[in-house]
């Protein structure tokens, strides 16, 4: 069946099976930044933004994105123009193995879109669906708070 949606701001039409999961559809089409970690919606490695909200794409059937807007990590920044969050994650040492990082950045993006000035508590709550075994979260939280500050500055100027 055909599904029409917006993928990283581009109108997209894909032929998908009714039982296909969004994570598999995206990965099969080369969007490899969406990772598989558990397949049961518990780890957050496959998080994408669906109409701006972070969802585990392993729990989303592909036909469900009809008419919606999907953002994957590939739609967030480019190597020549990284997003502030991507820069701050790198600078803070928040990227170790990097397998959970795309999901973390997308969850952070959703947080900062609705709350540009989050407290440490807000960050901890927003990221609690993104498991990371490498960093201990310390530098992840630092990165998100400094990215938030930089994004606010940019907006003001």
């Amino acid at each position: 069946m055909n599904v029409c949606f917006t993928l990283n701001n581009a109108p997209t039409e894909l032929d998908v099976g009714p039982g296909e999961r969004l994570v598999d559809v995206l990965r099969a089409r080369g969007y490899m930044g969406t990772k598989y970690g558990c397949g049961t919606g518990e780890c957050g490695a496959c998080v994408v933004l669906l109409d701006g909200e972070p969802v585990n794409s392993c729990l989303v059937l592909a036909p469900r994105v009809e008419g919606k807007e999907v953002i994957t990590i590939e739609g967030v920044g480019s190597p020549l123009q990284p997003h502030i969050l991507q820069e701050e994650f790198s600078k803070a040492g928040a990227v170790q193995c990097g397998y959970c990082t795309p999901g973390m950045i997308l969850s952070s993006l959703a947080l900062l879109a609705r709350n540009p000035n989050p407290t440490r508590e807000d960050v901890l709550r927003a990221l609690d669906g993104n498991l990371c075994r490498c960093t201990g979260y310390v530098k992840v939280v630092d990165a998100i708070l400094s990215a938030a500050a930089r994004m606010r500055e940019r907006k003001e100027s």
């Binding site: 170790q96 709550r125 075994r133 530098k139």
Partner: protein, 771 residues
């Protein structure tokens, strides 16, 4: 103490792959597809102990899209170990690809390759296996008792180095040593302690599941992309199991999504490789999360007994540690984790007159244990640090002062170093750098030890502080080896080729920093390529806290080697004695004149006396200098619910010179959180048939941001003369701290002594009720 004025080393340069990873661009094993690639799945056992009487795959094979099915019938019966260690391995050869017997729930029975993962999964359901159930054994004591069911009754199971291995008794390994009058001191001491400590099985939970993709190149060589810590061992083991020369195999480790010891095991590579050879098509084999829990590896659960004596002055005079390890259905790392339980723990207390260690590793019909960050030191440190706290309290001393009276110091040796090796005798070693005293002082100061310790609070919520002193090692002496090569390009950049394996730790960055430092170039002039058995020099792999120390030393030497060539050519170019030239800012300088590395390269590549300037070197160590650490934690115990909350955590670590402080902090923070999860809630819940009840992240909870404590890492600088730029290891040590530090803090808060982990609310609640 910084004896080198360094420009790149010791600075927190950006991790070289961080931005690419944050873009989702960098390539993990599974981010790579090939035309006509088949997808494989494993059939695993639902029984803990059974013989396979018959296996019928015909129905599965007739399913459209199924390409091949491997079973015990058509797979090689080559006995090997999956442990991924040096050769010959200290782990027993007790595994075949698919055996006629299953030894734990989750044991491999067959593998299907099909055009899609869904078809492969459907095929699994159509394979009919006729089992003859056997009596199973789930307890180490019972497994070692006479009359227990024999888990490895096959004639072929054997040790390949001269060590104790008695599979007929379910004894997978045994090690012991004794120095001094242990029993005499025990008999005549007035102050003596005897405790039993239980430490449990746990999963590594790297977020990337285990995966391998195998394909044939144009010359029909077998190429395996794998999420492995040990590409060179993987090549050797695949060659062994498949019976083909290692030279016909290439193992490539791309970016890796976390490992922690779990990906030292070579489990999938040989299966994907064989399916590829049988079908001629690329084959992808990825574990499900449930398979990672059941079919990959775990930490060794241990039952430890520690006896000790102490004199009135507060000096520990005797330590006697004995332990039994549960290795599950196969003996992977069973000997060496046992050994490390003593060798990475007992030397910490170094004023004793006698020390004894004995360990037995038992087969059981439970999930298979293997390497896990900490590797025995996690288990042994728990027993030692809790008993040190017990001793100090009995003496009426502050445990901090007690540790200061007893711990090992720079310039000292320990009989344990010489006694305990890897299936052999150990290697004598004198400690050349030890910042433990500073770790104890700075950590205590940071947590406010003096104000918070021994407060004995009343009321529902009680706070307390606890601490632990720790050590680990840096590489396996006289066994590990690492190599590097480096070549100079037109523009003064260099290609650094290392066999070393970056697991996400940042070792590619650390190694690039070392090369940049030696050659006097910025880090962005170092192009790192690592972990490819065709293209990079050998390295035993990323384990035993070896990469910075040993692979780093290989890189330092290789860069020095290239530097000598650069000076030789530059000396001719500017008419100076090469020995007087300095490499700095991309240039080769004398006090009078200079040329650039780029100009040196242009001359040698295109103009005069043409040659490729390159360096190559290996590193091998006669010693394993321990990093040291002191951990401090403040907890709050809820007397009503038994819940332990971590209020604050301080880890002070001596890793020698931290090549990259931010990455070193990251190693510490990650290890501490992993250790906190292990101490408080991570646990395999087994049913009475040996099946894990919680093989998912909902029921086997690992720490999330909700569990985020306030962690402070203090890097206490020392200088290790045998390490590159003074570095020792840091990756493992800090996972050993939370278990004992939290147990001691809980005692400080509410007076209960937690000797069996994990410290779940119900256990704490029960303990509170029994005092």
């Amino acid at each position: 103490m910084k004896t080198h004025d360094t420009k790149v080393v010791g600075h927190s340069v950006l991790k070289i792959d961080a931005l690419g990873l944050a873009m989702g661009r960098a390539s993990f094993t599974d981010d790579f597809t090939l035309p006509d690639m088949l997808h494989a799945r494993l059939l695993t056992s639902s029984l803990a102990h059974a013989r396979i009487k018959a296996i019928d795959a015909n129905d599965a094979l007739s399913l459209p899209g199924v390409a091949y099915i491997l079973t015990p019938e058509n797979s090689p019966r080559v006995f090997h170990t999956t442990a991924g260690q040096g050769f010959p391995e200290p782990s027993p050869y007790d595994s075949v690809m698919f055996d006629w017997k299953v030894r734990h729930v989750g044991d491999k029975v067959a593998a299907v390759a099909a055009v899609t993962e869904d078809i492969a999964e459907e095929a699994l359901r159509r394979i009919r296996v006729e089992y003859e159930p056997l009596e199973a054994v789930f307890d180490v004591e019972r497994a070692l008792a006479p009359g227990a069911p024999v888990i490895h009754d096959e004639a072929e199971a054997r040790a390949v180095i001269p060590v104790t291995y008695e599979p007929k008794r379910n004894l997978a390994a045994e090690v012991s040593f004794s120095v001094g009058p242990v029993d005499e001191l025990w008999e005549r001491s007035e102050l003596r302690f005897n405790g039993e400590y239980g430490v449990h099985r746990a999963s590594h939970c790297a977020i990337e599941p285990h995966i391998a993709i195998a394909y044939l190149d144009a010359d029909a060589r077998l190429i395996i992309r794998s999420a492995t810590q040990v590409p060179f061992h993987a090549r050797r083991i695949v060659a062994q199991v498949l019976g083909i020369p290692a030279g016909r195999i290439r193992v490539i480790k791309p970016r890796l999504g976390g490992a922690f010891g779990g990906k030292q095991e070579v489990i999938l590579e040989q299966i994907a490789g064989l399916l590829c050879l049988r079908t001629g098509k690329p084959v992808r084999l990825r574990m499900t999360r449930e398979e990672v829990f059941l079919t990959s590896r775990t930490r060794h659960g241990q039952r430890l007994r520690l006896r000790s004596t102490v004199n009135q002055e507060g000096r520990v005079t005797m330590l006697d540690l004995s332990t039994v390890l549960d290795t599950g259905g196969y003996g992977s790392h069973g000997l060496t984790v046992a050994t490390n339980t003593g060798s990475k723990v007992l030397p910490l207390v170094n004023r004793t007159e006698a020390v004894r260690f004995s360990a037995k590793t038992a087969y059981t019909n439970l999930p298979v244990a293997g390497a896990y960050r900490g590797y025995g030191a996690t288990q042994g440190s728990f027993a030692l640090n809790v008993q040190m706290d017990e001793m100090a309290r009995a003496l009426g001393m502050d445990v901090l002062d007690f540790w200061k009276r007893n711990h090992i110091r720079q310039g000292e040796s320990s009989p344990v170093f010489q006694a305990l090796g890897e299936g052999t005798e150990g290697v004598p070693m004198t400690i050349q750098s030890c910042g433990l005293e500073a770790c104890l002082e700075q950590g205590a100061c940071a947590i406010g030890w003096a104000q918070k310790h021994g407060k004995n609070q009343k009321g529902r919520f009680a706070r307390g502080v606890g601490m632990a002193a720790l050590m680990q090692g840096s590489s396996i002496p006289r066994i590990d080896m690492a190599a590097a090569s480096i070549k100079l390009n037109d523009d003064g950049s260099v290609n650094l080729l290392v066999g070393a394996t970056d697991l996400g730790t940042g070792s590619d960055t650390v190694l690039a920093q070392i090369a940049a430092e030696v050659l006097g170039i910025p880090i962005d002039k170092v192009i790192v390529y690592s972990s490819d058995t065709d293209l990079t020099p050998f390295d035993t792999g990323a384990y035993a806290s070896s990469t910075t120390y040993l692979s780093g030393e290989a890189v330092r030497r290789a860069a020095e080697d290239l530097g000598r060539g650069v000076r030789r050519v530059a000396g001719k170019m500017i008419g100076e004695d090469p020995a007087t030239l300095v490499l700095e800012d991309g240039n080769v300088k004398s006090p009078r004149s200079e040329t650039s590395l780029g100009d040196v390269a242009l001359r040698t590549l295109y103009q005069e006396e043409q040659e490729q300037l390159m360096g190559t070197a290996s590193a091998y160590s006669e010693q394993s200098p321990p990093p040291f650490s002191a951990h401090f934690v403040e907890v709050e115990v809820d007397r009503l619910t038994g819940r332990i909350a971590i209020i604050e955590y301080v880890a002070a670590v001596d890793c020698g010179v931290a090549i990259n402080p931010v990455l070193a902090e990251g190693q510490t923070e990650g290890a501490v959180i992993n250790g906190i999860g292990y101490a408080l809630f991570e646990e395999y819940l087994m049913d009475s048939n040996g099946k894990m009840r919680n093989p998912n992240f909902i029921a086997y909870r690992i720490p999330t941001t909700r569990d985020f404590p306030n962690i402070t890492t203090i890097l206490v600088p020392t200088y290790e003369p045998s390490g590159p730029y003074g570095a020792k290891s840091i990756s493992e040590i800090s996972i050993n701290g939370p278990l004992p530090a939290i147990s001691n803090a809980v005692f400080d808060a509410v007076g209960i002594r937690l000797r069996h982990a994990p410290f779940t609310s119900d256990r704490v609640w029960s303990a509170l009720r029994s005092i």
